[in-house]
Symmetry: D2
């Protein structure tokens, strides 16, 4: 009897999460360095809770929850004030221990595997399979966050810890290789936007619909550190006219003068990486910039960022997948979008205000977790993702 | 010799601003009740500064500025931290006095009128005429803000002052009369969006372009207070599922339980108006609601807000102009939008992030200051404008 | 029939408050520039409310309050959260108008005068006389605050308004004249501390008691601006070791580098005064410094501030009255101190934590409102009073 | 050869710190739950750094510091803004690991022991011995903080972890046993205050001096939970007149309605303890209250708190040592107090403002770390120490 593809995908995803944690000390699992980040321990448990809550407690007869507190502790979403405090206090929850969280994972894995083997025999419904696939994709999202949150935590430590000397090896991801830039032309026309295939997609990608685009030209290459340093050296961060009003307030209040993690030592730029402090590679794509910075850079170039529709239409013509790319589009529902009932409904629709769309994927994105219709979104001031710039003119 | 239309328009606008201030005590001109609001005195001076700075100092030979400090005090835009403090301290600037500000207005008016009379004789350039028209429209915007800011200030005073017993008489605006509601249908198609005529428009309306819309049905009538009270009584403000995540945080942190200015006294709803505290008129359009509230109401109705494009295309089919109407569109540049050079360029483009578009106009909007392409915009939590709800299904 | 001394004192005090307001525009009466300050209008009304509430409504038969809202608006003390908001919003209360507040004053004055004339005929009780005297002293306190609050408001206005070209003339106070400094010696011994005479004193000065003091030497002169500039120029504000921990946090967070109101222009120190911006007078006593600064200065000199007991015992040997003088004493109750019943009890005892005692009086203190047992108190970071430094070694 | 008493004391203290950590998971060593608290890991390292920095690097030839980063990471005191951020980020320093911190401890212990053995042979100077004794007392202070900080962290965890089922056994401390209360009388007189013996004391206890006290009566027993519940049930937390102004603001802003760690479940009071959630013991001394609460309770009783001088003079007549006892004295220098040169000088003098004195010791205080002249001090809002109430009348 061969295993189902879903079983294999589940296994692979669950193992990869734990593989990402291999270089960690137990201490590293604990802290939450900012409200927008979560501890590794929480990521490990929360992704597990999803399968327990959405599958095991609903579809497995007599399933006993591993620990009745975990639903409360590792649910991501809190509605009331008192509970909201919990969100900011993930870093003080020293108990359950890391070991107990791993036991929780293995307990749920065992039950999920049994359930998935029955899948072959019992022909589980498409709805259940779709939920499991959602859980797998959900965990892949947290794999990326686990890395970016950890990088943020480590960066605040004066001794600048190394996650792994060779981050790419750990994460099994290709080395960034920059390409020659050119301008790619897209004609005016009506284009299909959104997901319309058999494969998995999130609810915010659905409802494929037609959009009318004007003619535009988009860069085949991302902006490099070298180009970004030109912006810095041309007083980019102190020239008011390049910046949105909110962006100017943000950089003034936070004294921002470079991408996150950069520092200048004896006249040379370095950046903190998962492999420790490293000199800036001039020809690598710039990363860890906010929407405000991306927009100001484009303004300085007398160009602009692509809309998310332009990006999606043009994406087959260029390489992408190393940097999440800021678009000029606010994160809004597609025509026909409807929030699902229940906890799953809180997935994406709740956040459709005050956020900008990013397209593509990043070096920290898990394999098989990207497609041209994927819509990522963050508030415009966030820098802690591997975010970059592609221009349109 | 007859006066030019621009001369007449200038006169009328300038006089109307002062007419709006007739019911004020000198004390009323001073305070700034919130960061988002400005004192009447500041509105009076700032609109004047616009004409002095953009026209008189540039195009009138030997013009001497009224007071060299005024450019600093009454400029709306501050770039640096130190100056930003000024924005929050408009309410402590007791000097120059109200009388001096009126002298400033009359000084500038005199010079502007002389300049405009020369217009007839000397055939002023279209650029200059456009700038003056911009100044007139700018002042009309501040007329509306003057009223909404004043209402906000008065509302915080425990003795609830009356601006005027008959607000509509003062403002020369029609009494709100509600219409029967019905559903208006708009077919799928490609529509022109944006301004494309001879008349005045702001830079953010320009660049008319084509947009592809799906079929939709839009309500001919705005949501009434009666309908909104149903939402309140159906636990609208305490049912998490209706609200965006940011909206829920906003209402929780601010203990919002009704539109701004509402209070329940002995089981009956009242609201604070420019004519003092008044019982809620059930059949009047709901007003003073945030985008978060408008969106939650629509969600409760299983409907949605129109996009700004849908609104613009359908607007010829319904009455509007009593409430600014929240749309589902984030405030973003139209294709081809470019920020103008210099101070005029700060007008609209600087704010194209974290704001939602409102369409229409309100009872506080000055006459001749509305059109179907007009794009107003505020952050989603603001309630102090006369904002309302129109639904789409 | 001659008028009683209390009648005369009442008249003089009430008139002096209004005299201090003579140089004001109506606009100047409105703003509250900081939480710790109050608008002139509020000072005028609050001091009046004291007499209405404590005397007229209690002891004058058939007295009708001038306006039933005023008790709420002009009471100084708010217990609940909602009401606390009012404290920070004194500056937006444009109504009642300044004119109405003056009518309120004159209404209360008329009734008080009638009541005080009856005093002569009817032999009013000592308790009532004591309450009226308290009201007079209360108003004198607000006279000083009126000036220091106004100075603070004006200082924030970029055009730096002038209250009066000759502040001393308006306030009928002697010109500061500095004296030669010398060290005055006080022997170890047991001394009486606190008030014990027939005249008026506040409740916090009562309960005269004995205190044992060690021998000490106290400076006959206050620290001058010249001496304070030496401290600044010797890196006083950037040398950590001089400062209390809280003081260092305060100066770091607020970027304090000099006394309040000082600015350096082209290498020379100026300060903002009630007569506008003026060059620093090197030989005048330093003023507008916080306790943190006074303490750091003393530490830099290897000396210390006097305790309030040392100050009181030595005060007969030196001139004082131009600067409130920071002492090393925390503001605490004297042995036997008891908080009075009712609203009068809120006068002083409520504030006996987190404040330091100042002794003496200042150029802004009203005549007849100082004595050697007087205990003023402020939180250690406040700079907006005319506060100075006297050293002990 | 027998070991010196200092060697023995050093050993015992260092071992006791580690013994207190025995019940901890590695995860428990990491978080900092509030700015006022520190992680166990930091306490372990910081107390060690004291000996390395003050003794080994100064007096041991060729001593090599264990890790050059540790001085920066585990120093308690930060002067500049950037470094101050570190203070609030102790909880994100996952590296060095707990294991490395223990290695650090053992490295320093080894060198200290060698140095102390030489003590016997080489007759180390009194200054060095005094410094080592200071380090021992410093570590004892951190033993208490380690427990109180841990309790605070655990209390925020919804699953309410247990430090140890029998806290007293772990900490080798006697069980609280309440005594009968009576009133002890102390006569008016001149008393010696401060330390004047051969044993160790902190700098703030030195400079014994005479103080004149009035006659007073002090309670032999601390206030019990039963008595405190009477205060709660008599609307103690909602009756404004009992509270200092700052205290009222504190309880209003923080919604305080009981001592820290208390919660009412089904009408019965429980409190969170180091042995988990426990029912309140009515006859145990109330604990975890702020100065504001202690003062309000005394006011409700029409009594007062003792001054620190009264407490010291009377202390030989009653049992103490289970609760730190709030006094009515602000924390100020004794006559003749001088801040020492260098880092040691930052020990106590820097904090002599905005704090109240506590006298006695608590169940969490290490053995041999209390005496009647000991002056503890905290800001008046802090509740996280084992603080209690003794009354004077």
């Amino acid at each position: 009897m061969s295993l189902s593809p879903l079983f294999t995908e589940y296994q692979k995803t669950r193992q990869y999460t734990e593989r990402l944690c291999k270089p960690l000390n137990i201490e590293d699992y604990v802290p939450q360095a900012a409200d927008f980040a979560s501890p590794p321990k929480w990521h490990l448990a929360h992704t597990t809770w999803f399968f327990e809550e959405m599958i095991l407690t609903k579809y497995v007869e007599d399933y006993a929850v591993f620990d009745s507190h975990f639903g409360f502790l590792f649910n991501s979403y809190y509605q009331t004030v008192g509970e909201k405090a919990l969100r900011a206090q993930r870093g003080i929850m020293t108990r359950p221990s890391v070991e107990q969280v791993y036991q929780y994972r293995h307990h749920v894995d065992e039950h999920m595997q049994r359930f998935l083997i029955e899948d072959i025999q019992n022909d589980l419904s498409d709805d259940i399979k779709a939920l499991i696939t959602l859980g797998i994709n959900h965990e892949q999202q947290h794999q990326e966050l686990l890395l970016t949150d950890l990088k943020y935590t480590f960066s605040l430590n004066p001794i600048q810890p190394v996650y792994h000397q060779d981050f790419n090896l750990v994460a099994q991801l290709p080395i960034t290789k920059e390409q020659e830039g050119e301008w790619l032309s897209v004609e005016e026309g009506i284009y299909d936007i959104g997901h319309n295939g058999d494969g998995f997609c999130f609810d915010n990608e659905r409802c494929q619909h037609k959009v009318l685009l004007q003619k535009f030209e988009i860069a085949s290459a991302l902006i490099t550190n070298r180009e970004y340093i030109e912006f810095i050296e041309d007083d980019g961060y102190t020239t008011f006219s390049h910046w949105l009003d909110d962006g100017w307030a943000w950089l003034t209040n936070n004294q921002v003068r470079s991408p996150l993690y950069w520092q200048k030592i004896d006249g040379q730029w370095f950046n903190f990486t998962l492999a420790g402090l490293q000199p800036i590679d001039d020809e690598a794509s710039v990363s860890h910039i906010s929407y405000y910075e991306a927009n100001a850079f484009a303004s300085w170039k007398n160009m602009r960022l692509p809309s998310e529709f332009e990006w999606e239409v043009a994406s087959s013509q260029f390489d992408w997948g190393q940097r999440w790319e800021w678009t000029s589009s606010a994160y809004l529902p597609y025509p026909g979008f409807a929030i699902s009932e229940g906890a799953v409904g809180e997935y994406n629709g709740k956040f459709m205000v005050n956020q900008m769309v990013l397209r593509g994927a990043s070096v920290a994105t898990s394999k098989d977790h990207s497609r041209s219709t994927y819509r990522n979104f963050f508030q415009p001031h966030h820098q802690w993702q591997f975010s970059g710039i592609r221009l349109v003119k």
